[in-house]
Point group: C2
Chain length 441, copies 2
């Protein structure tokens, strides 16, 4: 009965929202993992996720990791930072090495409440400095890279902007591959398939497998939404999804056996509200999936809510990004704006697939067998890439070629909001090209 002014989605804090998404997705994911049986569902010839004992073991390990992280995610990051700082000659000298570090460390020292507790824990574990958001110098990069075997990269704003590669970025990734590092690409963008991303990576010089294995390094929200639906809709005969999104999202869903309806323009039909509600609905629609949809319309919003009133119909959002940055500071509205509209009309919270929901990391973890202590997350957004990395116990590098700035970092360090406190990276670089000297040395 309530209007948006009293609707739950509208009034949740970021942390509440994040927690609710995470718990929803983990519950769904683990439950489904365990129910999928030893063989797991084979979907249209796509190899199933690792099934049976290994799969369950992974799930359980991932569950234990979650519990540890839930109980004190700090330990992971602290151990990672301690290692890095020791090799970097100690956090104190690192902090003293540059003006920005001094500002950031000062800000950290000035932080109140949980900030002070965190600083105290850091001092205890990392030798007198919490080492948060230190410029990743060449020597620190060498120390860090010696300590990790997997690097996960966001794409837009990190590897490229639009169709232009960040200068030096392809060379940096080529050098990382030459050093035997495993690379993964985690993107909230739902408008490309794994294969399309793999082609773009190769086209812009970032390498990666071609042929049948193309896309194996790519974890986009279109693909991961398909994994989620395959789990949640397991057992449903010929399930369908009403998709607010593009062809790529539909292609990934159909690859796991979920038929898609609603893709493309949906103009207003009829003369008024009653006739809008008389527009026919497809049978067997088990989920409404909201991705990036440039054809989003009021008619689609109404239809989505009508499907969501049917018993058991899932509401899934690929991500909650409010904006999609383009070149020169321009941007377009992001998928999150569309998810919010549907959530408010349906008075339901969507299950969110993309960063910072840890479901997308669980997808990588399932396929890569990740050890968080030896994994780095590199991204340009504090509220998605860095928050995901911190929450999952990864080391984190912010690159300044995209959305977030050092001012944003400082603001988060000074914030009293727990969820913002988590959005502070271990290191930052002007560009991932800054990794090159460490790799060429």
């Amino acid at each position: 009965m309530s209007s948006g002014l009293t609707s739950c989605p509208g009034s949740r804090t970021p942390l509440q929202r994040f927690r609710s998404e995470r718990s929803t997705l983990n519950a769904g994911w683990l439950a489904a993992s365990q129910s999928s049986g030893p063989a797991g569902p084979a979907a249209n010839g796509r190899p199933p996720l690792r099934a049976g004992p290994r799969r369950l073991a992974l799930s359980v390990r991932s569950q234990r990791r979650r519990e540890r992280i839930g109980a004190g995610s700090f330990q992971w990051a602290a151990r990672a930072r301690r290692g890095a700082n020791e090799r970097a000659g100690g956090g104190a000298s690192a902090a003293a090495a540059g003006g920005c570090e001094e500002r950031l460390v000062a800000a950290a020292a000035a932080a109140t409440g949980c900030g002070r507790r965190r600083a105290a824990m850091a001092a205890a574990e990392a030798g007198g400095d919490d080492g948060r958001c230190v410029r990743l110098s060449a020597e620190r990069a060498q120390a860090l890279l010696a300590d990790v075997d997997t690097l996960l990269f966001d794409c837009d704003g990190v590897l490229w902007r639009g169709e232009t590669a960040v200068p030096g970025a392809p060379e940096a990734l080529t050098a990382l591959r030459a050093r035997g590092k495993r690379l993964g690409f985690i993107t909230n963008n739902s408008s490309k398939t794994r294969q399309a991303y793999a082609e773009k990576l190769r086209r812009l010089g970032f390498g990666g497998p071609a042929g049948p294995g193309a896309g194996a390094e790519v974890f986009g929200t279109a693909y991961c939404t398909a994994l989620y639906l395959r789990q949640r809709l397991a057992g449903a005969p010929a399930p369908k999804a009403y998709v607010l999104g593009g062809e790529a999202l539909a292609a990934e869903l159909e690859a796991v056996g979920v038929a898609c309806v609603g893709v493309g323009p949906e103009p207003l039909q009829g003369e008024g509200p009653r006739s809008w509600l008389d527009a026919p609905l497809e049978p067997d629609v088990r989920a409404v999936v909201v991705g990036f949809d440039p054809h989003f319309s009021y008619m689609k919003l109404i239809k989505a809510v009508r499907y969501l009133q049917q018993p058991g119909c899932l509401l899934v959002g690929t991500n909650m990004d409010n904006r999609l940055p383009l070149e020169n500071g321009r941007f377009i509205a992001g998928t999150g704006c569309l998810v919010r509209a549907v959530e408010m009309a349906a008075q339901r919270q969507a299950d969110i697939i993309g960063k910072p929901s840890r479901f997308i990391f669980d997808c990588v973890s399932q396929e890569y067998g990740i050890n968080p202590e030896r994994t780095v997350m590199v991204g340009d957004r504090l509220d998605t890439d860095i928050l995901l990395g911190v929450t999952c116990g990864l080391r984190t590098i912010l690159t300044l070629t995209g959305v977030s700035t050092l001012r944003d970092v400082k603001s988060n360090q000074e914030s009293d909001c727990m969820s913002k406190k988590k959005m502070v990276p271990d290191f930052y670089v002007d560009s991932i090209a800054d990794l090159l000297p460490a790799l060429q040395g």
Copy 2:
């Protein structure tokens, strides 16, 4: 930079949001009132709001009332309730008169925190019972009506559902008019002009002035948004508004001299994000107005945000209703869903005109010279109609012919959330036809 997960609109509590809207609008309204000068702007022949000394006096009185209400809105309601309860034979007997009252009073007594404080104040001021949400029996209605001279009604769900009048409602309003009561109609619906509402009122038998004065009793969000823009854009040469809304909203804006662009369908132009952003913008757009827009589209969302990036461009939402109820429990998505999408993409809070923002009450107050102690708000929604009435110190009647139920009332009474505690009416009726016996006696 933040995604929806950390955006302010998404994380505000209902009370924070309501306060921010109220303060924004009152500030704008009063500032503009005082700046409009003794004559006030005459807009396209429409008589200006009462201008000069009286207008300022009203504004100041309304400001003082706001301060009193802000400091302790309870006193207003308590006085009103005390009067009603004395005439109703005391709240205790009223509370004992019916099962529902007993449940609700018990719930109130069981309420914790501020609930207990409120109950204690009520006990002190109203003679042992807070008298909240008592069925409005014929004798209580007689007592109440003897004590008031103005009744403000919501329309959809109170007077009619769709095109069908609530049985007995026209007769009740006719009887109220015959008793010399002043009636006003306050609706969040932005899809009709004042005149169109006046015609519907007469067509369904609710009477009201015809001819030149038609619509003088109607305060819809299309009209009140026009009043707001006339104030906020005073002095802007030939201002324009980008309108996500229908012809009625545009007509009201143009009647106060604000030219409207964007009404009607706006299909996707171009092949991709860059070409979408290349679509030309109109010059001199000073405000983006989001109302009920069945032609809402992604292209409109992008354009709205581009206008909002221009210095000084206002963002105004007609209301935040999440749903627009139709007959038989059916509904369509409300304006609030569209406002939320724009707010999230623009990373700005909209100024909200409609209930429960008190701006719409100030519009009535300016034109009617309202005495809150002698005014009743009658509505079917706790989160808009009743919250507005309580906040403005009016007596409140919930009618059960629309959205909210007694279960919702109980839930609000039992809630620990201050903003929900305010969403409890003084009285309830099954239908406003229940007023008839008191009027015919």
